[in-house]
């Protein structure tokens, strides 16, 4: 079984998947990867199930020694993903051999990404999920961020994983927004508890990400978003991912992966999925702007992400089945078959894996 020995844990490295769904009514936060579209694409590149767990890496990445063999891809911002000191970068599958050392040379753009392994990170699921919810010490690796000296297991990879080396994501399939794009806000929820001036301030001015931001929420500073006569408190209700919560002080807080399930502050709307992805890649001090968006735009973004994941799965299948001259020359056994399935003919090349 492949394992990773954690030499240096990095700034904040934790096991995350698509999140712990189904238990919010028990007060259990969803958690999961901050950059969900990147996790889904990374898993597709490796032939993993979409919800396989990865290591979420924040700014300064870990140093990991590979025990066994495998394949990995870094899905997300360019944090300088390297193997044995050789830069691999983001969105390219690299084959890992026993003794290889994974490291990160430092952020070149963005804040975080998912270090995905063929087979996924294998920690015991808790409430149907492998994501770490650190505040309540639930799930992931012992409910916490990785520490120096931890040993993390990798699950069984999909067949043909050895042929994934070098598979790169075509840039046009990465649905990420340009870094300077305004954040799309689908207004709703307690929108009617804000004044017109308050809403106008949100959409016409610039906000700065404060240093108080974390996996739970992203606090912004800027022009006050004014409430109407009922103020900024409500009877507690649900807090969806990307909800823009505005307490009485008038400064927006975007609720992220580790958000609480319910909250008592007014929410002016919810960010679209790609805007959430763009926001979680921004550093404290960065400026953001908002634009008003429709629910249909959010749905269209979800469709676009799902389509990109489907396309990457297709491309991966054709990548692993490409003829490989190098293998043939190395003396691998190759046989060719003609199969007829449902009246259609297929030429199939079989190679014995070295």
């Amino acid at each position: 079984m492949t394992e990773l020995k954690v030499g240096r844990a990095g700034m904040l490295t934790s096991v995350q998947d698509l999140g712990r769904w189904g238990f919010q009514s028990s007060g259990v936060p969803v958690a999961g990867a901050m950059d969900l579209p990147a996790l889904r694409l990374g898993n597709a590149m490796l032939g993993n199930p979409e919800g396989a767990a990865a290591l979420e890496v924040t700014l300064l990445g870990p140093e990991l020694e590979v025990c066994g063999a495998g394949a990995a891809v870094f899905a997300g911002a360019d944090l300088g993903f390297s193997v044995n000191g050789r830069a691999v970068g983001s969105w390219r599958v690299v084959e890992l051999k026993n003794g290889d050392v994974i490291s990160f040379s430092g952020p070149k753009n963005g804040c975080r990404g998912n270090l995905c392994f063929a087979g996924g990170v294998d920690v015991p699921p808790v409430m149907n999920s492998r994501s770490t919810y650190m505040r309540a010490k639930i799930g992931g690796f012992e409910g916490r961020a990785l520490k120096n000296g931890d040993v993390v297991k990798i699950g069984g990879p999909s067949p043909l994983w050895k042929k994934l080396d070098g598979f790169a994501l075509p840039p046009e399939l990465n649905p990420a927004l340009p870094p300077d794009a305004p954040l799309s806000l689908m207004t709703g929820l307690q929108e009617d508890m804000f004044t017109e001036e308050g809403k106008a301030a949100l959409f016409s001015s610039e906000y700065t990400i404060t240093t108080d931001s974390d996996r739970m929420g992203c606090r912004l500073d800027g022009q006050k978003i004014e409430h109407g006569g009922k103020g900024g408190d409500i009877v507690s209700d649900a807090v969806p991912l990307g909800a823009v919560q505005v307490p009485s002080h008038g400064m927006p807080i975007v609720m992220l992966a580790d958000r609480q399930t319910t909250g008592g502050y007014t929410k002016i709307g919810v960010l679209t999925p790609l805007s959430i992805e763009a926001l979680v890649q921004k550093m404290p001090g960065a400026a953001v702007r908002f634009r008003e968006a429709s629910i249909d735009e959010g749905t269209a973004e979800q469709m676009k992400i799902a389509a990109a994941v489907r396309r990457v799965n297709e491309l991966r299948c054709s990548y692993v089945s490409r003829p490989r001259a190098a293998l043939t020359q190395a003396g691998a056994t190759v046989s060719r078959l003609r199969l007829t399935v449902c009246g259609k003919q297929y030429d199939v090349t079989c190679e014995e894996m070295p």
Binding site: G27, G139, D237, A238, V270
Partner: protein
Amino acid sequence: MTALAIYIDEPKFLAAGESCVVVEFADEISREANDAVTALAKHMRLQKRVPLMECLPTYRSLAIYFDPTKTAREAVIQEARSAPAFSADCGTYGTEIEIPVCYGGEYGPDIANVAEHAGIAEEEVVLRHSAKPCHCYMIGFLPGFAYLGGMDESIATPRLANPRTVIKGGSVGIAGKQTGIYPIDSPGGWQLIGRTPLRLFTPEAARPTLIEAGYEVRFVSVSEDEYKKIEAEVAAGVYRPVIKEADTL
């Protein structure tokens, strides 16, 4: 079986992004609205027509999470509208759970504060706190934390001026008119009057929380000996909590 009050007002269907619809029955805390939420949650969870991610009931609204690439928003709204939430009986409503509590002493160090504030004896605090069941309006804030309403208001007591940094899981407290149980060790400022040996939150269990939204919670006073006996049974995994479904009430 208690019949639900007929809910007259048309609920609001609020847009909460592309993956969530919030069905809001009221903008204040009311038992009628909460019963409608409970009934709608039950309907949405049992129905098989529309695939959902999950439903999250709160005081006065139900958040319905779905995958918009698999489920159309209109289908979610249509299914919610077809629910008998506003006039029919609901099985969860009326479910009563007994929570054994050892009051006072080291288990409830603030019971004297509560007694003094109410101008009554500590024994009377116990009687009033366990006299009638409290309604669980929602679960939130912490895993398994139940928001309970309906406590005898004569024992309402303000929060501690200096919150404790660690409160043991199972502690039963009062904060103003609210009463509740800390499900896990946590900081907090509630006046602690007792502790239950039951585990409110068990991450590895199929149903991780003992109390669910819509339950009636009845506190039952137990001696320290009984507390320790139940605690041992809980630790051994043989304790069966006393839960009466609506039909048998």
